[in-house]
Symmetry: C2
Subunit: 257 residues, 2 copies
């Protein structure tokens, strides 16, 4: 038995952030809130921020009253009992419909970013009544902006940023948090070329660590608890070497379309 | 800005576990190793254990030299350049082949447990040369056994156990850790009936927290680092209300077969 210190990471929820409005600087708000709860952003921290507050800060919400549903949106809405204006928004945010399930009112589509998820990431929870939140236009750019501003506010620290969203999966029940934007860290840790304790190649050759960081963050963020940001501390991330688009499988390599 | 304490969880890797052999009591070994590194198992901890050591302790490994490949295994192996004996084992561990990609030698199948994954979870890394590790026969039962023995060894604490494995996903690159067995906690946190800060129903109605716990654990376990077990501390899990089978989507409800 060794006496060495255990390897550990901490996942710290950042509360006291309040309602976010279009134009707000999330980086400033989060850095202040982290300081106020006496867990200031520190060197090596990974800041995980939920898509919802990023979309709000970027003004990526719209008023459903202004939406004119198309004929196909009206049709799907009639069959499924869903709001035709919301169906219209989902369709307009989709590059391709992957599955439509009229029995259960499910739309699985590919967003313009390449994410395959329900409702093209459009969401009416935690936004004012009659509004819908869209995904950020370019979540990697959103992550980069937050990253750069945090680096200005807290000089001489190296931080990474992950924008998280909650998605369903094929084959498995329940949703999990995953990364839709990253800055400052490699989203995939590639084990190809490394060997196991018996000197042989490893099965799990590429681990989506950005998705795992987002999942870990969800455990402290919950859903309606007013914790839209999290610090993951103590994880030795690899230096930047990609974007969240690296986490999206090319259509030609995808066996499940 | 509030002065309240931040909500936080810790993820603590347990090292010093060494090579596991058939018949070993993982619970005893892990409890001792956690103690030796001065992070003893504590009340409310969630113990995440990798499938590989569970399979070894349960003797779920086999010698490839003893495997007689079938005609179809020989055929797939010939086309893909894979080991026909390993292909045979993968097929024998599969209830249904979901996708075969001969170009890349990929077998996605449903295991007898219902997991849809590559190679039916059969794996030749971190096992002696010429051997292959199968999934535990019943990972929920494995989790229960470890849970019950930990509860004997550390009386008056309430712990939960998650057996983790690393799986690929549809649509996304990279693999993530997820839960194939659970004991002592509800694997899914259901938000249906709860409301957002605007009093409306939540989009993410059911979160697969057992999968997120497994993902968080992977961040400290890595792949070849000799950390096959982790304590997640500070996460207020819901009392038991299911098994890891609850995380497996019924075939009839699955749009991606």
């Amino acid at each position: 038995m060794s006496g060495r210190a255990a390897r550990r990471i901490e996942v710290i929820g950042i509360g006291g952030i309040g309602e976010i409005a279009a134009g707000d600087s999330l980086a400033d708000i989060i850095v202040s809130a982290a300081q106020a709860q006496r867990t200031p952003v520190d060197d090596g921290d990974i800041l995980v921020v939920t898509q919802k507050v990023v979309s709000k800060a970027e003004g990526m919400t719209l008023d459903l009253a202004a939406v004119q549903p198309s004929a196909s949106a009206l049709e799907f809405a009639a069959v499924t009992g869903r709001d035709p204006r919301l169906v219209e928004v989902v369709m307009s945010q989709s590059r391709e419909i992957v599955r439509l399930d009229t029995d259960r009112g499910i739309i699985i589509s590919e967003t313009r970013h390449g994410f395959v998820c329900a409702n093209a990431g459009v969401d009416t929870s935690n936004v004012p009544n009659g509004a819908a939140a869209l995904l950020p236009e370019d979540p990697d750019r959103s992550a980069r902006r937050i990253h750069d501003r945090v680096s200005e506010l807290v000089p001489n620290v190296s931080v990474a940023v992950v924008i998280s969203d909650t998605h369903g999966r094929a084959w498995r029940e329940g949703q999990v948090n995953l990364a839709i934007g990253v800055a400052g860290l490699a989203p995939i840790r590639d084990y190809r070329g490394t060997t196991d304790t018996f000197g042989r190649g490893l099965k799990a050759s590429a681990v989506a660590v950005a998705d795992e960081l987002a999942a870990a963050a969800e455990l402290v963020m919950g859903k309606a608890d007013g914790i839209p940001a999290t610090l993951v501390r103590g994880y030795e991330f690899l230096p930047p070497g990609g974007t969240a688009s690296d986490l999206v499988r090319d259509r030609v390599n995808d066996l499940f379309r």
